[in-house]
């Protein structure tokens, strides 16, 4: 069983976590073009790499950030979201 570290509850089995996808900035739907909106809604960065992703520890409903190497399936680090940096 793979272990992920919840920033609040510590190391837990990966089955306790839900994956929320890569962190992506959302354009303002009121002002952006249809193309920019479609790009945000549908398109993804599907190539491997170290990505910043949303994850949730489901028993405690804690959302946090994980940096994960998607080519090697290795969790680099996890931390609570502190705004975009």
């Amino acid at each position: 069983m793979k272990i992920m570290t919840c920033p609040v509850n510590g190391p837990r089995a990966i089955s306790e976590f839900a994956y929320g996808g890569e962190i992506r900035p959302m354009p303002d739907p009121a002002t952006c073009s249809d193309d920019a909106w479609a790009d945000y809604v549908f398109n993804r960065n599907g190539s491997p790499g170290v990505k910043r992703e949303w994850w949730c520890h489901t028993p405690s409903n804690t959302w946090f950030v994980a940096e994960r190497d998607t080519a090697r399936d290795v969790i680099v680090r996890t931390y609570l979201y502190a705004g975009d940096n």
Binding site: M1, K2, S15, A18, Y19, E22, D34, D35, A38, D39, F42, N43, R44, N45, G46, S47, P48, K51, T70, A71, R72, D73
Partner: protein
């Protein structure tokens, strides 16, 4: 040991022709370069040569033929989809499968079994009825049946599934079949090779040259090639190749795992799929149970397997078939599934002239191998999307016109 094997084991000369011609070097230019030596790329090469007379073609494969998802899938073939675009497309594929063994002079072990999609909830029954009506409209054998029909076809099943997921009925699709996946790649590959197509294994595409919005060449680990047409058929590597030409797409990669049991006596004729239990199962000609489940829950671009997978899948298998408790799992593996948001593929011309895409095949593209070869070879030869693929183009996302096929996905994802 057979005498022939002994006699030729130590000799350089072998009287048997090889399955494929070996080409020592790449040519400086080809009319068409196909990236990916899986079933899709090889089928496109075959039909380009056979139906369109285009033979100055090479297929570039970074590993070995069929070593991608073609050789890793659970080989279920069916056409009982949900959207009219999908139903027509997969129906044409099922038709093409019928005489492939004869065409190739190679036994594909195409085995017509019948396919049950089990419904354990009212919602699943409703989707089954919907699919049956769409299917019948297009002349495809597809009907909703009661649990007693399931029991008759698979007498070993526990219809209550351990008491917690009773089977209320099923969508039955008589044409459902399985086939030998490696042989499909080899058959198309040999057919293309005999007609003059060059197949280069261990040849990885590292870059694609584009000038003025047009493809001009391909860079590989064995040298550069100039060409005006490139077909990308690389399944789980599609985002990486799209990056080479600067095309954005909704494709995301999750592993899909599968496993087989030790061989046992034949006891299961049909193919069974349960969306609620996340199981699909058939018995191969060798007696192995071939089993799959839903996608891994998060993005990974590798073919690693996990221990959670056989554990979870076995537990659901035992809900359906408690008598299997002593049967051993023999092998497990994974493929990289190139998923799309609407569970339909992405095919056809792209914003880069001369760059054609056959991807987004996720967990469902083996059955489509013949029709993808047919339609993509047409599209490449005429630089015009084949009529059967117009519902699958990349620009459907930009136009907010999705082809919602998720309801026909084999297991709930």
């Amino acid at each position: 040991m057979p005498w022939r094997l002994l006699r030729f084991a130590l000799s350089d000369k072998h009287p048997e022709p090889r399955m494929f011609t070996r080409h020592d070097a790449l040519k400086p230019a080809y009319d068409v370069v196909i990236i990916g030596g899986g079933g899709h790329g090889l089928a496109a090469a075959y039909y380009l040569a056979r139906d369109h007379g285009i033979t100055n073609v090479c297929v570039l494969e970074k590993g070995y033929l069929g070593g991608g998802n073609t050789g890793r899938n659970t080989t279920i073939i069916r056409s009982n989809y949900l959207t009219p675009e999908g139903v027509k497309f997969y129906d044409e594929s099922v038709r093409l499968w019928q005489d492939l063994s004869t065409d190739f002079d190679l036994n594909l072990f195409y085995s017509n079994r019948g396919h049950f999609t089990l419904a354990h909830t009212d919602a699943a029954l409703r989707t089954s009825r919907w699919r049956a009506e769409v299917n019948k409209h297009f002349g495809i054998e597809s009907e909703v049946v009661g649990p007693e029909v399931v029991k008759q076809a698979a007498p070993m099943i526990d219809l209550s599934c351990g008491g917690h997921a009773p089977i209320l009925g099923a969508l039955y699709h008589a044409p459902g079949a399985v086939a030998r996946h490696d042989a499909v790649a080899w058959g198309y590959g040999r057919g293309a090779d005999l007609r003059g197509v060059e197949i280069h294994q261990r040849t990885e595409v590292l870059g694609i040259d584009v000038a003025g919005g047009k493809v001009t060449g391909v860079r590989t680990n064995r040298g550069n090639i100039s060409t005006g047409k490139v077909l990308c058929a690389v399944a789980g590597s599609t985002p990486r190749v799209l990056d080479m030409v600067g095309i954005r797409s909704p494709i995301y990669i999750h592993p899909l795992q599968a496993m087989v049991s030790e061989p046992v006596k034949p006891w299961l004729d049909p193919i069974l799929v349960s969306g609620s239990l996340h199981v699909y199962i058939s018995q191969s000609a060798r007696g192995e149970l071939v089993m799959g489940a839903s996608l891994d829950p998060y993005e990974v671009q590798s073919t690693r397997s996990t221990f959670d997978f056989p554990e979870g899948l076995s537990s659901h298998m035992l809900d359906m078939f408690p008598f299997l408790s002593n049967v051993k799992v023999m092998r497990q593996w994974a493929g990289m599934a190139d998923m799309t948001p609407d569970f339909a593929p992405i095919m056809g011309r792209t914003p880069v002239e001369g760059f054609y895409l056959d991807g987004g095949w996720g967990t469902w593209g083996f059955k489509a191998t013949p029709v993808c070869g047919k339609t993509m070879s047409y599209t490449v030869a005429h630089d015009r999307n084949h009529d059967l693929i117009t519902g699958f183009t990349l620009d459907r996302f930009r136009n907010f016109e999705l082809t919602g096929e998720k309801g026909a996905a084999s297991v709930g994802h």
